[in-house]
């Protein structure tokens, strides 16, 4: 397929080449049958090789060989001439590719200049080989060698400079397109026709012969070059060239002379100059348009960037690496209280409180060393300083900004005063919640605790009554004093036991209500046992609590808080079982901590509420606060532990995991949040 295409391309090229070459020889080769002062094939060959590659050289060779064979000489001279023509095109191609940007040759004035030189140099090859071979074969008398060579060379060169640009710019129009429109093209066509008619009309040039009318074409070529670019210039040159060659060939116009060859050479020289001038102009126009477009793009980009900076939600400060502010947006003006002009006189440091500037400088150095986008102030307290000296909390993010001129740093600054205030409010609220949750928990316990304390009080009181009765009986001698004192001692002992019982309850209550999260080395099984005892006494008679506690020591926990968690879990379990049934509490030591399980045999937790179980304010109870589990989880997490549950139709088990290792500083930090 590729081979076939190549063959077809070469065939077409050879046919076109042969046709043009044969026509040129027949029409214009007057000095010698094989040497024409008008030789478009050179331009055709160079253009084709530039556009579609050197693989088309056989087409040129065949075309040239065919034309020459049909025209004059022997097969040997034809072959030599064809070889010269092919080499000429290849030399032109190589020169233009190497020194003049290949097909982009007409885009700059410099490459146009190089193209003109290549157009003069390449034909040296063809002229020398062609004329020498013809001379050797006896077709050119040696005394005419110089004349024929000159004709050949100039013919080829003018062909190269006129035709190659026409073909190349036809297939590869330069962008951007110059400004001339269709109407202007029409006007230009009229002017061109008028000029050609005037210059080559015998009626005109014969009357005013001394005036070099041919110069009228120069402003037209300039017009074409300026308004229609390289395409316009080469097109105009080519059209003029056709008219001029035609006129001159048939003895009309300012170039005509009795010797047609001399006349044509003179014309061709003019055409070469015109073509080069037009191309240079076209290239200039192209370069200018290019520059304009580039400038527009740059301006648009600049505008986009400005808009982007201006429309950013945050204050944006762009500074150079020395911290000098070079650009800001109106948000910056509003945030810091300076106007734009004042800001552009400042350094970034001026927007930072004095006490933080050293840190900023270190930070900036570090940022420049790393040079990538990042957020600053996460976990740090950063502040900005307004013009009036007041400070406000900020969060900033920085990105490096590389420009042609220098490296810059773009900093987005966000005022987080409101957020901070909200956080503070939320913090207060959270503390209040924690307090009210504790109060609520206490509230539900009060009646139970009252009951529990009143029970020992009851029998202490009864005992006192009984003691009184004993004393009265002794006084009335109704009883034996020894017997009475024995009874009284027993009553006193029982009463003392009651006092201890009440005291124990008060102590549990104190632990539960403890306001501080204060960890201390604890025997976890005692903490759990205390919680269960407290729960039992509050819920006395309603439920059975089975405990299975493995002695577990060496834990740092806040006893009160852990008890609160267990009471919460036990309360939930009790309520799940409608306050009757059996709760199981287990404590096991694990490899890295302890595991406390609270199991009920209630109906399980419905699937639709499971995911929200630990959400604050989520509750399924009519009088619940919805905070029990959320507070419990916070307490456990503050201890570095975790809480989870498994549930099914036969009950729910909550599992609290507590780590044995001492908490890390971050965990201590977290604990402070829970402290109320």
């Amino acid at each position: 397929m590729r081979y076939a295409r190549s063959l077809a391309a070469n065939g077409t090229l050879s046919a076109v080449y042969a046709l043009v070459a044969f026509g040129s020889l027949r029409l214009f080769a007057t000095l010698n049958a094989s040497s024409s002062p008008v030789w478009p094939p050179t331009g055709l060959a160079i253009a084709v090789l530039l556009l579609w590659g050197p693989r088309l050289w056989p087409g040129i060779f065949l075309g040239a060989f065919a034309a020459n064979s049909l025209n004059a000489g022997t097969p040997a001279t034809s072959a030599a001439i064809a070889a010269g023509n092919t080499l000429e095109a290849i030399v032109g191609l190589l020169l233009i590719r190497r020194f003049a940007r290949g097909v982009e040759v007409f885009d700059t004035v410099r490459t146009v200049g190089i193209f003109a030189i290549a157009g003069l140099v390449a034909p040296l090859v063809s002229a020398t080989i062609g004329v020498t071979s013809l001379g050797g074969a006896g077709f050119v008398p040696w005394n005419l060698y110089g004349g024929v060579w000159k004709t050949w060379w100039l013919g080829d060169a003018s062909g190269a400079l006129t035709v190659a640009p026409l073909i190349i710019s036809a297939f590869r129009p330069p962008k951007p397109t110059p400004s001339g429109g269709v109407r202007e093209l029409g006007a230009f066509g009229l002017a061109m026709s008028a000029a050609c008619a005037t210059v080559f009309s015998p009626a005109v040039y014969s009357t005013i012969a001394p005036i070099p009318l041919s110069f009228t074409i120069v402003p037209l070529i300039v017009w074409a070059g300026v308004r229609f670019g390289s395409r316009g210039a080469t097109g105009a040159t080519f059209l003029f060239s056709i008219a001029a060659v035609w006129g001159t060939r048939f003895g009309m116009g300012p170039f005509s002379s009795p010797d047609v060859n001399t006349a044509l050479l003179s014309l061709q020289f003019s055409v070469m100059v015109l073509a080069t001038t037009g191309l240079a102009l076209g290239a200039l126009v192209h370069q200018r348009l290019d520059a304009q477009e580039e400038a527009q793009r740059a301006k648009a980009a600049e505008h986009r960037f400005q808009t982007m900076v201006e429309s950013a939600p945050d204050a944006v400060v762009i500074a150079n690496t020395r911290g000098r502010i070079v650009q800001v947006n109106s948000q910056t003006e509003a945030l810091f209280g300076y106007n734009r002009d004042a800001l552009l006189q400042l350094s970034v440091e001026d927007l930072i409180p004095e006490r933080l500037r050293d840190r900023y400088r270190e930070d900036r150095a570090e940022f420049q060393a790393s040079s990538h986008q990042r957020q600053t102030g996460v976990g740090l307290e950063l502040f900005g300083q307004r013009k009036d000296g007041s400070e406000f909390p900020i969060e900033i993010s920085q990105s490096p900004l590389q420009t042609d001129a220098e490296d810059m740093v773009s900093t987005s600054i966000r005022d987080i005063s409101e957020r901070k205030a909200r956080e503070a409010e939320l913090d207060v609220f959270r503390r209040q919640i924690a307090v009210s949750e504790k109060l609520a928990a206490l509230g539900t316990m009060v009646s139970g605790v009252a009951h529990e304390i009143r029970t020992p009080l009851t029998y202490i009181n009864n005992n006192l009554e009984l003691i009184k009765i004993q004393i009265e009986r002794v006084a009335k001698s109704e009883t034996d004093p020894a017997k009475a004192s024995q009874a009284i001692a027993s009553l006193v002992a029982s009463s003392k036991e009651g006092v201890e019982r009440a005291d124990r309850i008060v102590e549990q209550l104190r632990q539960f209500a403890s306001a501080q999260l204060k960890t201390e080395p604890s025997a976890l099984h005692r903490v759990v046992a205390n919680a269960v005892e407290l729960f039992r006494s509050v819920r006395k008679g309603q439920l059975v609590v089975n405990v299975d506690l493995q002695p577990t020591t060496g834990f740092e926990v806040d006893k009160g808080q852990i008890q609160q968690v267990l009471i919460n879990l036990l309360n939930n379990g009790a309520e799940a079982m409608a306050n009757s049934g059996t709760l199981k509490v287990r404590l096991r030591e694990t490899s890295d901590g302890a595991e406390i399980e609270v199991e009920d045999n209630g109906p399980g937790i419905p699937a639709e509420v499971q995911s929200r179980l630990f959400d604050p304010f989520f509750t399924t109870k009519t009088e619940g606060t919805g905070l029990g589990l959320s507070v419990s989880r916070r307490i456990i997490e503050a201890h570095g532990g975790s809480i989870r549950f498994t549930t099914g139709s036969s009950g729910t088990t909550f599992t609290v995991l507590l780590p044995k290792n001492r908490p890390t500083p971050e965990e201590v930090e977290k604990r402070k949040e829970v402290r109320t």
């Binding site: 009646s447 009143r454 009181n461 009864n462 009554e465």
Partner: protein, 133 residues
Amino acid sequence: MKRILLVDDDRDVVKSTAQLLQAFGYKVTVCVDADRVVEMMHSQRPDVVLHDVRMPGLDLRAQVRAIRDDPDIARVPIVLFTAVLSARELAQEVGADDAIQKPFSSETLRRVLRDCEARPRGTNFRLKKYEQA
């Protein structure tokens, strides 16, 4: 001599209260298991039941109803014997006759029991309010 059925599961409370009641001349039977109250009321025929309100497995409302629904024992006064804060409201709510809030003075105990005795047997007397001593 009046018979009292004392229903409570706290050993110390039962012991001291029973001694006190005996000192005041009552015959006291103790029941520490809420499930056995009806059965013991049948066997012991008490004149008054002093009934704790928080005991394992006890549904107080159901317990009172069970007693009231049993013709043999329906008219025995039930006095709640409790440490909860609102003893009298609770008594009214569950249909008991009266309440003694723990801890109690011996005067209160005797007054409540006297009121029960003063009530003609067979009348379901209204709840009266007693001041705490």
